[in-house]
Amino acid sequence: MHEWSIGKAIVDAVTNFAKGKNARRVLRVDILVSEIAQLDLDVLREAYKILTQGTLAEGSKLNIEIEKAEFTCNNCGYKWTLKDIGDIFSDLAKKYGIVDEEGTIDLPTHYMPMAIHALIACPQCKSMNFSLNITRSVEIKAIEIER
């Protein structure tokens, strides 16, 4: 549950960008969030709202798009999604789950999405050599500013 530190990093990155462009204020920020990171979007929105107070980004709109994970096996070509392996994912939480201060159990992928490569394999051929479309927990796609 580290959405607040991610929120702060987004606010810092956005306000630094805006300052560099001599912006009067930030109007809109679009971010892309990985499905694998399993971030709590309500907490992230709340963090953004509070952390932007008193900054160039105060009152700006935060648009969050969740990108669904699509896996492709480099060995046999099989394609799958997280939904297809839902049960395995919850089983993994029992063994590799990381507990936070509030008792929430998160998978290592919450902190490092690419840890997924250590946790799952191709459902068809069991190879660990697979690719996926998203590699980061969060990315900033666009920032709209007013000069």
């Binding site: 530190s5 991610i6 702060k8 990381i98 201060e101 490092m112 690419m114 840890a115 660990m128 980061r136």
Partner: protein, 256 residues
């Protein structure tokens, strides 16, 4: 895609918790970088708050060197993953996260894995952070260098008297020079006087050519393996303890 990167911002902020960062690498595998990292960390932790970050994502050795008896699970908080605390030491390794499972990574996956790891470790304030790097000049070295170069840092290059290791060490120092990384010096590990005498001239040439200091020679001690097997601290080896007693104050002085 927008070039503004919150993960870089976050990595910088997390790593800024350390007053000084000591990177330990060497290009060549098997020269004992993790043992050197552990030796310096144990030695400095007698007087300072020291963090140890194992960036060898595919062959993490730090859990074996530090926390073999530890059964505690890793925990998280609002700022990220909390390192394992052992007195004055704070230790983090991917080995704590995925245990002994392999982590096959390639291309962008590898670079982003390193960046996310740097961004989501919540360090307490530290006097020194020791970063144990894997062999080579891949993303585990390139990604942290981009961030750490802006912070107070120093690089220790580990090598050994070997026809195979020394040319790689030379290339590695050349790379660090071009990257404008501050090199604290070289440590000759697994030092064995008879073998080292065959390479004395080559080592001297290397040090002179790049104007780098030899921080010390850490002797080969067959007792080390027995200490690891019995889950003991590596500084119980008197030979190693003596070497690190000499090296650590030099490192502190060079970074001040």
């Amino acid at each position: 895609m927008c070039r503004v990167d919150p993960l870089i911002e976050l990595s910088y902020e997390q790593l800024s918790k350390a007053k000084r960062i000591i990177l330990i690498g060497g290009g060549k595998g098997g020269v004992g970088k993790s043992v050197i990292s552990a030796g310096i960390a144990f030695s400095l932790s007698k007087n300072y708050k020291v963090g140890v970050l194992d960036l060898d994502l595919q062959g993490p050795a730090i859990p074996v060197l530090f926390t073999h008896k530890l059964k505690e699970r890793l925990r998280g908080d609002k700022e990220g993953l909390k390192p394992i605390i052992l007195g004055n030491l704070s230790v983090m390794s991917l080995g704590f996260i995925v245990e002994e499972r392999p982590l096959p990574l390639s291309g962008r996956d590898r670079a982003d894995a390193v960046l996310e790891f740097l961004a989501h470790i919540h360090w307490n304030p530290l006097d020194y952070l020791i970063v144990d790097l894997p062999p080579g000049m891949g993303d585990e070295v390139l990604v942290p260098l981009r961030i750490i170069k802006k912070l107070k840092h120093g690089f220790i290059v580990v090598t050994r008297s070997s026809r195979l290791a020394l040319p790689v060490t030379k290339r590695f120092i050349e790379f660090l020079r071009k990257e404008q990384v501050k090199i604290l010096g070289v440590i000759e590990n697994m030092y064995e006087p008879y073998l080292a005498s065959k390479y004395e001239e080559r080592v001297r040439e290397l040090l002179n050519r790049y104007e780098v200091e030899l921080l010390g020679k850490v002797p080969y001690d067959p007792y080390l393996e027995s200490l690891l097997l019995n889950e003991r601290n590596i500084l119980e080896s008197e030979k190693l303890a003596r070497a690190f007693r000499e090296i650590s104050p030099k490192v502190v002085k060079l970074l001040n």
